[in-house]
């Protein structure tokens, strides 16, 4: 028996058209970001991808020169795609499941910014440490 005897065939499932539609949407948003400075996000989990399309989108967007990692209640992976200003942001929970999967059009993804509350907490800790040394 050879592999040809097995009636299951690998077929090309790449092209129901979602990738092109999404790339067009990203291009439009990128244009708005350039002219109006408008940042935005696309929730990938809300879109009906065919099984192979998700990976197809990854290939189409590629990978650029910047990436970051958050270690906060589960990891988060952020990287700039081959197109500057287009970021792929994936949040995981502590069990490693994807809890949010986003395309973000921005100079820097919003979640990377230090939050004022955290900055204040940090300063407090630093001052405490300094006062202990005195």
């Amino acid at each position: 028996m050879s592999i040809d005897d097995i009636s299951i065939k690998v077929t090309d499932l790449h092209s129901i058209g979602s990738i092109d539609a999404l790339l067009n949407e990203i291009a439009t948003r990128l244009q708005r970001f350039i002219t109006q400075g408008e940042t935005s996000m696309i929730d990938l989990k809300s879109l009906p991808f065919a099984p192979a399309e998700y990976e197809g989108l990854r290939t189409a967007l590629g990978r650029g020169e910047a990436s970051a990692r958050l270690e906060t209640i589960g990891d988060s992976e952020l990287y700039e795609t081959h197109y500057p200003g287009v970021w792929w942001v994936t949040h995981y929970n502590v069990e490693g499941d994807v809890i949010a999967d986003l395309i973000e059009i921005a100079a820097v993804p919003a979640i990377l910014h230090s939050q004022p509350e955290d900055v204040r907490d940090g300063l407090e800790r630093l001052q405490q440490q300094l006062s202990q040394k005195e």
Partner: protein, 363 residues
């Protein structure tokens, strides 16, 4: 019972950073099917809410809905239970049993009268005085009537509580009915499905916490954010339907090519649920992706709607407009761009001013 402090206080005590909280809110926005840019608006509100008391009553049911909830991935059940709500009674999940368990329910009902959320799974049998399902010697009907009195709102979890479900199927030997058949004077939200998608259960709770009100509902009492569209409208196989490419048997060429399962009895066109995008098992897939048609489990009387394998009688939506769009940009593009519109609206709002929870309510 401890005082119910705000989520912000709890997280701060646990040393969880604001950034972590924002990430959590981004996941919540995804879960609630809100625009992804709304995380900071959600964070601002959610941080201030006090954990509401939740009483969960399980009636004539199979515990599948609870099984589904405990497999909720975003956020985890633990964070949901311990950080967002105070689950004061759930006879399957709670540690207490017997008199102590029933006491916990009575205490919560008294202390949070008029404020607690009542979650119900399972139908309620009415025949012969409701004797076919009892807890601690009391009929389900009796317990529901008592608990509903002090509830701020009732969430009917699963098709049994929402529509009567399997116990209500012909010939309905126990006279099973839905929560809404009995309770008429409280807001009721139906989270149907057999079982419902775990993220939809937690998403509705999150919505209630964030907005302090129940989400917009469809004519079946289901939240529009999750049940607003049919499986068919959001199915990745929809383009094949529009092209007339159907699988005729489960092992023919069409099935192998991933064509539309309409002729094999898929109930996607008449079924409202979020399976096609939210998916199951932590976002792995949904039935159609595994090659089986939708059985329509989130619709009323789905057990009595004929064979799961008999095709629906006729197209239920006007396909001509979709076909036209398909001719121009490709059907998938029409489907996917429609989905993005929601985000566009909010992007416009964001450019003018910071998004607030009130903006989201208007969506």
């Amino acid at each position: 019972m401890t005082e119910h402090e705000t989520l912000e206080q709890r997280l701060h005590e646990q040393g969880i950073s604001r950034r972590s909280f924002l990430k959590f809110c981004a996941a919540m926005a995804t879960m609630m099917a809100l625009p992804p840019g709304s995380a900071s608006a959600i964070a601002a509100t959610l941080a201030k809410v006090k954990r509401p008391s939740v009483i969960w009553l399980s009636f004539q049911e199979c515990t599948g809905c609870t099984e589904s909830l405990t497999r909720s991935h975003s956020p985890t059940l633990e964070s949901m239970i311990f950080d967002m709500v105070s689950l004061d009674y759930h006879h399957t999940l709670q540690a207490a049993s017997g008199f102590a368990a029933e006491q916990a329910r009575e205490d919560a009902m008294k202390e949070f009268h008029g404020q607690y959320l009542l979650l119900v799974d399972g139908s309620i049998p009415l025949k012969d005085g409701g004797i076919y399902s009892t807890i601690a010697g009391r009929t389900n009907l009796n317990m529901l009537l008592e608990a509903a009195q002090g509830a701020a709102a009732i969430v009917a979890v699963g098709s049994c509580a929402a529509f009567g479900g399997l116990p209500n199927a012909q010939p309905n030997p126990t006279g099973a009915v839905a929560v809404s058949d009995i309770i008429k004077d409280k807001p009721i939200i139906n989270i149907s499905g057999c079982p419902p998608i775990p993220a939809v259960i937690t998403g509705v709770l999150a919505h209630y916490l964030t907005f302090g009100a129940l989400p917009a509902l469809d004519d079946q009492g289901r939240p529009k954010a999750f049940y607003g569209e049919t499986i068919h409208d959001r199915c990745y196989r929809r383009p094949f339907y529009d092209q007339g490419k159907f699988a005729k048997t489960f092992d023919d060429e069409g099935a192998r090519n991933g064509w539309c399962l309409y002729e094999l009895g898929c109930k996607g066109p008449t079924t409202h649920n979020a399976c096609a995008t939210t998916k199951w098992n932590g976002g792995t897939s949904f039935p159609i992706e595994s090659g089986h048609g939708c059985i329509g489990c989130s619709e009323p009387k789905f057990w009595d709607a004929g064979s799961f394998y008999a095709p629906l009688p006729a197209p239920t939506a006007d396909v001509s407009s979709v076909a036209q769009a398909a001719a121009v940009v490709g059907a998938a593009a029409a489907v996917i761009v429609g989905a993005i519109d929601r985000g566009k609206k909010t992007a416009a709002q964001q450019s003018r001013k910071k998004l607030t929870v009130d903006d989201l309510k208007g969506n």
